[in-house]
């Protein structure tokens, strides 16, 4: 007689299981972080982007400590597999994000992948990059009722002020 339920309950677990093993998960995320630092905007499956986001932001926090810091240099050395990016991290990204206290990345969902797996994809980018913006901020159209009424009110106010 089964007294306990053998269900897949993971209470309070924060890390997703990616790849083949914990080591492989970190290697996967490491490659993604390196790609993000190199290209500043990448498209990956949503789950990987979500996991990677935390690590990327913590890496930038470490970089903000400066490259004289021993621990910061070791972290950057581990997390960036292409060593020319360490220079970019400390000299370009750290000063760029110095005024911000946190949240250096933006993650948006994308239509599912075209291949057989139809995976949920996301684009993750570092804020303040030189690429064209992902989301064009749309201004309210002038032709809605409220905007027309407001426009009329502004014109009346101007006429009353001029008179």
């Amino acid at each position: 007689m089964r007294l306990s339920v053998a269900a897949a309950i993971s209470h309070g677990r924060v890390y997703r299981r990616l790849g083949l093993s914990p080591r492989s998960r970190l290697d996967l995320l490491r490659n993604l972080v390196t790609a993000l630092v190199r290209h500043e905007r990448i498209e990956t499956p949503w789950a990987r982007a979500d996991e990677m986001r935390g690590y990327a932001e913590r890496l930038i926090d470490y970089a903000k400590r400066g490259d004289k810091d021993e621990r910061a240099m070791r972290m950057a050395d581990f997390w960036l597999t292409e060593k020319d990016l360490i220079h970019k991290l400390f000299k370009v990204l750290a000063p760029r994000f110095q005024p911000h206290p946190g949240s250096y990345t933006r993650m948006l969902q994308i239509p599912n992948r075209d291949g057989l797996d139809r995976a949920k994809m996301a684009v993750i980018e570092l804020k303040g990059n030189a690429l064209p913006p992902l989301v064009r901020p749309r201004r309210d159209s002038d032709k809605t009722l409220l905007n027309q009424l407001l426009k009329g009110y502004r014109q009346d106010a101007q006429r009353a002020a001029a008179a």
Partner: protein, 246 residues
């Protein structure tokens, strides 16, 4: 005072007092008991706030001294079956666990060649007094390996006198390397997961190398596992100092 020339003696002002600001020096080095720091999780901070208030209330009544793992403590608890209703136990603190009001510490001693470990709750109302007999930190945070060490390392005299503390300065770290009983042990202490520095391993080289197979070198670079408690600690320290001064 004999006055020469009939004039009054010249006024000598008193020497200027040398002000040694001990208070600011002491502030920097205040000890915050680890059970005050809330763990990382999804519990509401209100729970920890309420617990902290109760802990401070208890601390106003009972003086819980600053102690670390490796100190030798004597604890007097209330016992209804003892002749003078109280019981005294002396031992070395092996580990401190738990957060909030359920904080515990385990004391170990070897009495009549039988190893005894008692787990006390810091804030239990049965505890009547805690005295620190010997202050010294060890190389590790967890001395559970003393169970597999030779009994001489866990024996402490029950009627030991408190060793006087030199000055209000650093707590000395005892770099003692403990010798173990022959294997099997209760846990495989040579594995890097335990990260024990206080054992003198007399195992052959190949066994130590085989134990390194279980090392996880990527764990130190896993940034999300780090829990930075500096800001939380500062807040709690301020709260504690305010409450205890009332």
């Amino acid at each position: 005072r004999v006055s020469s020339d009939g004039k009054p003696p010249k006024f000598q002002p008193p020497p200027k007092p040398v002000i040694i600001d001990r208070k600011t020096q002491k502030e920097e080095r205040r000890f915050l008991s680890p059970e005050f720091i809330p763990p990382r999780g999804r519990t509401a901070p209100l729970k920890y706030y309420i617990e902290r208030k109760d802990m401070i209330q208890r601390r106003k009544v009972l003086n819980i001294p600053e102690f670390y793992v490796g100190h030798v403590l004597a604890v007097t608890t209330a016992d209804p079956f003892a002749s003078d209703k109280s019981k005294r136990f002396v031992g070395i603190c092996i580990q401190r666990g738990g957060k909030g009001l359920g904080a515990t510490f385990v004391l170990r001693n070897v009495i009549e060649e039988q190893g005894v470990e008692i787990c006390y709750e810091l804030y239990s109302p049965r505890i009547q007094a805690i005295e620190v007999l010997k202050l010294e930190k060890r190389l590790d945070e967890n001395l559970t390996y003393l169970r597999d060490a030779l009994p001489e390392y866990s024996t402490f005299d029950v009627n030991m006198r408190p060793v006087p503390r030199m000055a209000h300065e650093e707590i000395p770290v005892n770099k003692l390397q403990v010798r173990m009983k022959p294997k099997p042990w209760s846990k495989r202490w040579e594995r890097p997961k335990y990260n024990i520095k206080g054992i003198k391993f007399e195992l052959p080289e190949h066994k130590m190398k085989a134990a390194q197979k279980w090392s996880q070198p990527w764990l130190e670079f896993d940034m999300l596992r780090e829990y930075d408690t500096s800001k939380i600690e500062a807040k709690i320290r301020k709260e504690l100092s305010e409450e205890l001064e009332k």
